[in-house]
Subunit: 298 residues, 2 copies
């Protein structure tokens, strides 16, 4: 078994358990709980919690309960954003991760509330995490900033307004740095903060995250063009239907692939620089980055 | 000028300034900012911030910047809940406070994001408030609990599922304790915590808030039946259209008014008990409670 596969098996189970346990404990309404757990349990790659935990492990730190709770809060934020993004009022997607989207299953009203619930309980969980009061507050501020109106919500807002418009490469990078990059940045920097790293190291993690986030988004755009519905677990060609600006639409598939390769190279450069600091075990992070590359080539 | 009117003029301006300033500072997307400020500026009675600040003042405490920020966060949570509650997927309301609802003005996608943004930035603002780290975290935990899936979101979920069903009086109280009562409870208890009151006093504030929340909801139901669209600034008779269980529908107008009077009496009893503790200036809270009664009689 690869190092990464083993890492996933050991640690993601605990992140998932934290999410489920907290939501069960904090939710009185059964349908609301079902609706939230439906999307939480729909799985996905858990890329953001993995990035957080792999970063922490890279600094040779034992992963604590507080880290699992931070990773769980992060994944709850990501999950809420998918539920709201899929709503008829937004992207109007009917399929995600191979199963019907939340609003198809529970109705748009309940799906809206499931998103609101996950968002609120993410901050609730983090505010109660097993961490020093200072670190809890710092992580809370960072998560709110990453997921809020200079971060993810701003990206979503630009995305909604960008439908039917042809964005420039810069405008598209702006959207993606917020829509995807912000939570990636939180994942990496939170991993550094949980490992008690100094500011210069956390700054390097942030730069790495920005390249990785962009790479991830180009990859996502490419898959929407090149993959099949079965491979992806969601409807493909959806971006084109919504007339969204994507990298393949703007640059073509070949140039987009080149840009992806360049961003991945920049990511790996950052990782090398970080190895000259206290990041003594970069293997997991490297495997995660490799996994991204492989998926697109396959 | 009455004591309450003067109090509103002095303090609500500061709460509103905190909301606007923080949102402007934390929002890059102009349309998103416009959409959030549209609902923030639509005003309303600011009952929750008023309750918080009047409680603090009742303990003869000077109102601090941290208190204004807490009150601002609370009003942002309330505002987000109204935007989402009005959405086509939820109550499908087109008019609130005399003007078109957020989604009528900005579209359902942007309105969903404006709600998500206000919700996230409320916790962001509170996480940065000028308060000790301990008090910030305690208030954050309380606000998340009050607005989350044992609180307001649970009430909304029960409300969505209750459409078309005739609820019992107990079931209706359950919904309202969450939908309205939870944020009222936060307002009163936060006022106590900001005034550094001991647990027994905060518990009394909680009991007062529960009676007041129920009174407020009965009043709201009554107004939907008895007031005109112009008086209310929103479409009336809407509950009946949605086939919602309301106090007038279940008990009739006369019995509902009696129940309202009973809850208000219980509220005043709590206030009297609190005057035997450190609540030395109950006048503002009393005026606020009186205002509620007057509006229904008018």
């Amino acid at each position: 078994m690869s190092l990464l596969t083993e890492f996933k098996q050991i640690h993601l189970t605990k992140v998932e358990a934290e999410m489920r346990q907290f939501l069960r404990q904090q939710t009185t309404d059964e349908t609301l709980l079902k609706s939230m757990l439906y999307s939480v349990d729909a799985g996905g790659k858990r890329l953001r919690p993995l990035l957080l935990l792999a970063t922490m492990a890279g600094f040779n730190q034992k992963i604590t309960l507080g880290a699992y709770q931070t990773a769980a809060a992060l994944e709850m934020i990501h999950t809420y954003s998918l539920i709201h993004d899929d709503l008829p009022a937004m992207d109007n997607d009917e399929l995600r991760r191979g199963i019907p989207t939340n609003h198809i299953k529970f109705g748009a009203g309940m799906a809206t509330l499931a998103g609101d619930g996950l968002l609120t309980e993410a901050f609730h969980l983090l505010s109660r995490a097993e961490l020093s009061t200072e670190l809890r507050l710092l992580l809370l501020q960072n998560l709110a900033k990453a997921s809020g109106t200079v971060g993810m919500v701003a990206g979503q807002a630009a995305d909604v307004q960008g439908e039917g418009k042809l964005l420039s490469l810069e405008e598209m990078a702006f959207v993606h740095q917020r829509k995807t990059g912000a939570l990636f940045t939180f994942a990496l920097t939170a991993g550094g903060l949980l490992a008690e790293q100094e500011e210069s190291v956390v700054d390097l993690l942030q730069t790495l995250a920005q390249h990785l986030g962009l790479a991830f988004q180009i990859r996502d755009d490419l898959l929407d063009v090149t993959a099949t519905k079965d491979e992806l677990g969601k409807n493909v060609g959806h971006d084109a239907t919504l007339n969204k600006s994507t990298y393949p639409a703007l640059l073509g598939v070949a140039k987009s692939s080149q840009l992806l390769a360049a961003e991945l190279a920049a990511t790996k450069d950052c990782l090398k620089t970080l190895q000259m600091t206290s990041l003594v075990k970069p293997e997991l992070l490297m495997s995660l980055i490799e996994e991204l590359t492989l998926e697109v080539q396959a």
